[in-house]
Amino acid sequence: MISYVLRQVGLSVGVLVSAIIILFSLIYLVPGDPATIALGPRASEQQKIVFRQSMGLDQPVPVQAFHFVSKLATGDLGTDLLTRQPVLRLVGAALPKTVTLALTGLGWALLLGVPMGCISAMRPDSMTDRLIGLVSTSVVALPSFLLAIYLLIAFAVTLRWLPAMGAGEPGDIGDQIQHLILPAFAVGLGWVGYIARLVRASLLETLQENHVRTYRAFGVSDTRIAMRYALPIAMIPVVAVIGVGLGNLLSGAVLVEVVFSRPGLGSLAHDAVTTRNSPVLVGTVLVTTLLYIAANLSTDILSALLDPRLRKEA
């Protein structure tokens, strides 16, 4: 168990370092003059010099790499080209909002996906199972921002059941929750389908196991066996993919935030890209990548902990 955890941590660090290298090469190994590319051909020579200095581009590449990494290690993600604010502070302010949205989306996905998967697995090949399968497969690949637009038209513009724009009044929890429902549903719907299919497959497999027969032989009802005794085992592989899910949901949340005009990483990135504010974007990508890798690592360890067979002599 300990060696497993250490191995996973080691792998995660390796992946993170590789991701940093990829991002570094992206910014600093641009063919041509990065300043011209970034500022456009109409930028004055003075602007380009300032840009080069601020990005450290006037130094040799290994020096640049060293600066990049050593600054990252101290938590310095660079400064906003326009407002001169530290990128870390901007990202730090936006991140919790996006994570809240992604987690609520995950909540939707579990809330709908787990029961759908259970209903399917309890009556395999029934009409209900086929219908759930059809719906699950259909929603799996739908872009969440598109869904957000449709939800906005249906529930906010036409029916006026829920608020359309923003994240709600600061301090008013009820209002904020109302503002969260639609965007979170848009973020989570694809994963409703994915989780429903995963739960179905995993539960069907678990229901084939011998201990389920034991419980049936003792006259325990099928529903109770499935819910109380098979589902906890069937959920172990589901928990393992939630880390992956959080990454996908964060990506989806970025666009959904723009659609619903919610503050967060998405709006931050959207504003930054229109002003070509690349340090903000690189910082955003780095922090999100770190978050994703951490989420993956913790769900890997969590799913190992959930299984008493693996927990043995931890």
């Binding site: 003792f218 325990v220 085992i233």
Partner: protein, 321 residues
């Protein structure tokens, strides 16, 4: 004496991909109260299907015909709910594989409490106490600790004792032990058999012990029923059948039992030929293609299952004698 299991021309057919598969055909078998029946046969003989049928645990693809009575009830004339109501109350089972029979993520104690769900009017802590007492009775040391452990923390022998304790907790009138020692080593096997022998008085009814080992039958059982390729070929009291086997298959099976071979030889005796596939059953006697004593009528007419001395045998040769 009262019959506790009574099968009359009982058959099981599965809906297979290549047409129906007749897994069990025309079984007539009676088990009296208080006795231990050894159900013997090779793998594929239909004994596992028969066990599932007795527990009303056949898969949906199975169709039954004939009659299988538990006490006064015709099991397959009951509704699904009524059948389920019999399990865990009048019927209990010990499964073949102790390593997978218990839920891996639930503590032993919680599982033993769940198995007593039919017992009304006693509290959870009382059920836990009953479980603790029963674990002690099947010879498990430190039962209090075992209750808080997970199945993987116990050895195979211990897990099978837990499974036996679980079955005894519900006071069944029929305990079906489905090859409970196959997955265990020889020493543990002997211990488990000893436990069942000691506790037979605790079962207010009968035990069906499924095995392919004639030695186990001799040590444990009162009656024996021999199955071959989905049919019952011989049944009767153990002393009678083992001393004077009438059916050629029973004789061959006994001849193959290493414990009974008197003159050691370099190779174990085997029965020539293979078990017929349920898709291509021979006409007449099911054993005729492999039988050393085959006569003409065997190949055309299926022998009836008739009394012979104290046993019942399905063989033309015994009818003739």
């Amino acid at each position: 004496m009262t019959a506790i299991i009574d099968m009359n021309d009982f058959s099981i057919t599965y809906a297979g991909e290549r047409g129906p598969v007749p897994a069990v055909r025309g079984v007539n078998l009676t088990l009296e109260k208080g006795r231990i029946l050894g159900l013997v046969g090779e793998s594929g003989s239909g004994k596992s299907s028969l066990v599932s049928a007795m527990l009303a645990l056949l898969p949906k693809s199975a169709k039954v015909s004939g009659r299988l009575s538990i006490g006064a009830d015709d099991l397959y004339a009951l509704s699904e709910a009524q059948r389920r109501a019999m399990r865990g109350q009048r019927l209990a089972t010990v499964s073949q594989d102790p390593f997978t029979a218990l839920n891996p993520v639930i503590r032993i104690g919680a599982q033993l409490v769940e198995f007593q769900h039919r017992l009304k009017g006693i509290s959870r802590s009382q059920k836990l106490e009953r479980a603790r007492e029963m674990l002690a009775r099947v010879g498990i040391s430190d039962p209090g600790t075992r209750l808080t452990q997970y199945p993987h923390q116990l050895s195979g022998g211990l897990r099978q004792r837990v499974a036996i304790a679980a079955a005894l907790l519900v006071n069944p009138s029929i305990l079906i032990a489905d090859e409970p020692t196959t997955a265990l080593d020889a020493t543990t096997e002997a211990e488990v058999i000893e436990i069942i022998r000691e506790l037979r008085g605790a079962v207010d009814g009968s035990i069906v012990f499924v095995t392919h080992d004639m030695g186990v039958v001799a040590r444990l059982c009162d009656d024996v029923a021999v199955m071959y390729a989905g049919e019952l070929v011989e049944s009767g009291p153990v002393a009678e059948v083992l001393e004077r086997p009438q059916h050629p298959y029973t004789r061959a099976l006994l001849a193959c039992d290493p414990a009974r071979i008197e003159t050691p030889s370099r190779s174990l005796p085997t029965i020539p030929g293979t078990v017929p596939s349920p898709h291509a059953l021979p006409a007449g006697c099911i054993f005729s293609p492999r039988c050393g004593a085959v006569i003409d009528i065997c190949r055309s007419v299926r022998p009836a299952f008739l009394p012979s001395d104290q046993s019942r045998v399905a063989c033309h040769r015994t009818e003739a004698s």
